[in-house]
């Protein structure tokens, strides 16, 4: 099993969600997050003065998938989340030890 954490632009969330559910992803957890990458945010202006907006608002999508879906999920997220400009985000992939469904105590892939 793999755990995917994708940091994406907020306005791309709907597309990403539809793309992932379309290829059989069962569920996801979404959080509003703030952060920065290589650009270190950007500057905005207010009343003629600039200020640094270092921490930009992003969406973090977390989902857990069987190993064999990994490539398809990554392709889908890239396809749906890519604007082609800095700030499109990142996908973090990690191996996951176990998943347990609280209601039935099912474990592993069956619990996803």
């Amino acid at each position: 099993m793999k755990k995917i954490e994708a940091i994406i632009k907020p306005h791309r969330l709907e597309d990403v969600k539809e793309g992932l559910t379309g290829i059989g992803v069962q569920g996801m957890t979404v959080t509003e997050v703030k952060g920065f990458g290589r650009q270190k945010g950007h500057t905005e202006t207010y009343r003629g003065a600039e200020y640094d907006a270092t921490f930009l608002t992003k969406i973090k999508v977390e989902t857990v998938i069987p190993d064999e879906m990994l490539e398809k999920v990554i392709d889908t997220i890239i396809e749906k989340a890519k604007d082609g400009k800095p700030g499109d985000g990142k996908i973090f992939v990690s191996s996951l030890e176990d998943v347990i469904r609280i209601r039935t105590r099912e474990k592993g892939v069956a619990a996803i």
Partner: protein, 520 residues
Amino acid sequence: MKRVLMLVLLGFMIFGPTIAAFAAEPDPSGTKTGGAADVVGATANAPTADDLKNLAANEPLAAKLADVIGHNKVSINMVWMLICGFLVMFMQAGFALAETGFTRAKNAGHTMAMNFMVYAIGMLGYWVCGFALQMGGVGGVASLGGGAGLDGEFVISLFGKDFGLFGTKGFFLTGVAYDAVIFSIFLFQMVFMDTTATIPTGAMAERWTFKSFLVYGFFISMFIYPLYANWVWGGGWLSQLGKNFSLGHGVVDFAGSSVVHMTGGVAAFAGAIVLGPRLGKFRKDGKPNAIPGHHIPMALTGCFILAFGWFGFNAGSTLAGGDLRIGVVAVNTMLASAAGAFSSMLYMWMLYDKPDISMGANGFLAGLVAITAPCAFVNSVSAVIIGLVAGVALCMSVFFVERVLKVDDPVGAISVHGVNGAWGILALGLFADGTYGDGLNGVQNTVRGLFYGDASQLVAQIAGIITNIIFVFVVMFVFFKILDKIVPLRVAAELETEGLDQAEVAVTAYPDFSVHKTQI
């Protein structure tokens, strides 16, 4: 010590009225106010005093009807003035929303609280003595057929001329002031005073202690506003510059560019200097940081409410619904606001790439402030020019105050009200076209500015500006400095970082949300 002072103040409020009350002949129910005498001069073809005298002998019924017509005329005027006063009262909500929207979420409860309590504090202070000092010597309002009990102007004589300094009738609205007309005048004048009182809360927002704000609220409503207002509107010396020294009609300020707005803006300037900038406003090298307001829709809604109330502010200042100049006044008012919004938007767009809407909103108000004095005396082209200049002056002033003077004014109050208040007074001295104001301040003929042939009117206007700057700035600066020694003006640094809501007014504006930005 502080307790004692508060008790004395409270005692003054409770027992003061009984001391001040004395016998006179006011008309509390208004039944005796307004009669045939008020018909004289009501229109171009109205009966003369002689006509009425003959009428009484020859046609008694018509004479009685003339009496009713006079009463109706006064009623229309009073109803107009009261409704306009109610509109101006609602401007308090506009100020509250505009100032709170342009400041940060962590101080929203505090900024709202100042705008709210200044209404209560200001009104009580004005009732105690502010109204009497301002209007206590005005000697009645012709359009309202009454108010003659306000006949006590304190005057000093210099160079053989009289200089009215302050009024002496109407303390606590008792005695001669217990009169329907005088109460109505109180309402209308009170809401104007409160506009002044609430202007500095914007420039001094996000760092001002509530305690010292309370003392300020009483001080400006009881003394500073009433004195300058007396000089221009209460029959005081600035209004007499025409009669005494042939300077036009004396200082003419139709609805208060100087009396209300400049006084508030100059007081805000003095306060913001003494208080110092918000933490993080200026970098070590002196460059200003932007501290964005937390709720732009709220701020813009506030500006619209202000513009709505401004119809009462300006058109109501005829003190007469029967004075049909109100149509011109109202249109000039809205034209100047449009021009101010447009020119400030263009200025920002051309110089800073974006039509910064917070500056557009300030320009909108700047246009309103600038047209407040000349609104009754100019044509529509002049009104638009006055508004266009106001919007550009606003932008330049905001940057000058912030970048050169290094004074932190979170909402632009100094530039909107102070600078454009002065511009409005000056503009009257330039653009007044001689179609209105015959006999104003005891001077024959209509009001004309420099461009229409009367340079002396401009001189009077400049005298008004200089007097306002010197009097209001010096007194308020010294007042804030002294007050700071007794009741510190500035909140502790850690409170300022944390937000003032809980510590200063015990109400957090947005308890369900995290209101702290990750920086600044």
